[in-house]
Amino acid sequence: MEHDHQELPSDPALRVMALESLLVEKGLVDPAALDALIDAYERKIGPRNGARVVARAWVDIEYKKRLLADATTAIAELGYEGGQGAHMVVVENTPDRHNLVVCTLCSCYPWPVLGLPPVWYKSAPYRSRAVIDPRGVLREFGLEIPEGVEIRVWDSTSEMRYVVLPERPLGTEHMSEEELSALVTRDAMIGTAKATLPGGVP
């Protein structure tokens, strides 16, 4: 096929650079705004936010009640709100119930509390299998869920965003809220892990 014009390069890095420079030339993009936006998601908005919400729920029963009743408001109490967090639901793990969050149709994920999703969460293997074989998926994460424990998979098909409230590990009664929050991983809030003591069992 013949072209009388220059083709955009196929390498995504070059294509993105070309697109950004076109949009800057058209006066539609402020590169400093892109820098600031990227910085926010690389440095400020991540799973440490969600971990603080979980730790607060572990130490404050009244907060936990508010969180389970109206997660959007309770999470905003700690200062976390923003895009992909307009309508939040927190689902609680118990000794006989384990929750797992997925978005089979795209990549919906609660940005204000967990940051941007990891590659595996957005990938075909996780999106395809979390709903049909959650126990097999969890085994790939090293998590064996006993047969007697019910699994609830939450498929994020709307603007509701789901976060798992993991069980507080045993032997943490002496720990402060700050110390507890360090036990809460991103995966524990997606449901592909449990909160554990370092090197310990849940």
């Binding site: 014009h5 220059q6 955009l8 995504p12 890095a13 993105v16 070309a18 697109l19 076109l22 949009l23 058209k26 006066g27 539609l28 993009v29 402020d30 705004a33 892109l34 820098d35 600031a36 936006l37 926010a40 998601y41 690389e42 991540g46 959007t72 923003g82 895009g83 967090g85 307009a86 309508h87 089979t104 149709l105 795209c106 940051g115 990891p118 590659v119 595996w120 075909a124 293997p125 999106r127 395809s128 979390a130 709903v131 049909i132 959650p134 126990r135 998926v137 994460f141 047969e147 007697g148 019910e150 699994i151 609830r152 998979v153 939450w154 498929d155 098909t157 709307s158 603007e159 509701m160």
Partner: protein, 219 residues
């Protein structure tokens, strides 16, 4: 649309690739694509549902081959061109058309903190009460719209129970095509794993799916 993006229940996609200490972005261009999508979204020429639908319209073989942010780039280019923000000639040449009007950036650095903290809202007031009640059995309709929908194929025809009522939310099937928000009541519907997948599924497992009222019939 019955696209390859509607992945729930598919087999053969391989193992889940885990990465320890994964960075937020693996390459700088991924970060730029993410930020360009957010910044251009603020132009108001499209909405989140149209954004999702743009990526769903990537040809299936490409969709499966592309990385996540390659899909975000392809979707963004599609939307910019379809809404007339840039022309095909400009995309091909990489230069603004001679004499074209210069715009103003919808997102400037001073507005980023506010934009990041703005949560927006997708619920809308409606006059009609919800058609279904908590605890009611409902069947997901067997529909195969060629446009955008959030009713996954794996749930179509299946019977579940209304678990929560989330209020009325913007209807993506309409909004994605710029046919208006047309809000409808949104329900969390609980399906037994065996109802969705058959007798081999675990007896105690459930899948909860958020479904709009017009996706459902009484069962």
């Amino acid at each position: 649309m019955n696209g390859v993006h509607d992945m729930g229940g598919m087999h053969g996609m391989g193992p889940i690739a885990l990465e320890a200490n994964e960075p937020v972005f693996h390459e700088r261009w991924e970060a730029r694509v993410y930020a360009l999508n957010r910044a251009m979204g603020i132009l108001g020429k499209w909405n989140i549902d149209a954004g999702r639908h743009s990526r769903e319209r990537i040809p299936p073989a490409d969709y499966l081959r592309m990385s996540y942010y390659e899909k975000w780039l392809a979707g963004l280019v599609m939307l910019l061109e379809e809404t007339g923000v840039v022309s095909r000639a400009e995309l091909d040449s990489g230069r603004a058309a001679p004499g074209s009007a210069k715009g103003r950036p919808p997102l400037t650095a001073d507005k980023v903190a506010a934009v990041v903290a703005a949560r927006g809202a997708f619920d809308r007031p409606v006059n009609e009460p919800p058609r279904f009640t908590i605890g009611q059995s409902v069947r997901a309709r067997k529909i195969n719209p060629t446009g955008h929908t959030r009713l996954p194929r794996y749930a179509r025809g299946a019977v579940g129970v209304v678990d929560r009522i989330h209020g009325a939310h913007i209807f993506p099937d309409s909004n994605a095509h710029f046919h208006g928000e047309r809000p409808q009541h949104l329900y969390s519907v609980r399906f037994a794993a065996r109802e969705l997948w058959g007798a081999e599924a675990a007896a105690r497992d459930w899948v909860y799916i958020d479904l709009w009222e017009s996706y459902l019939d009484p069962a």
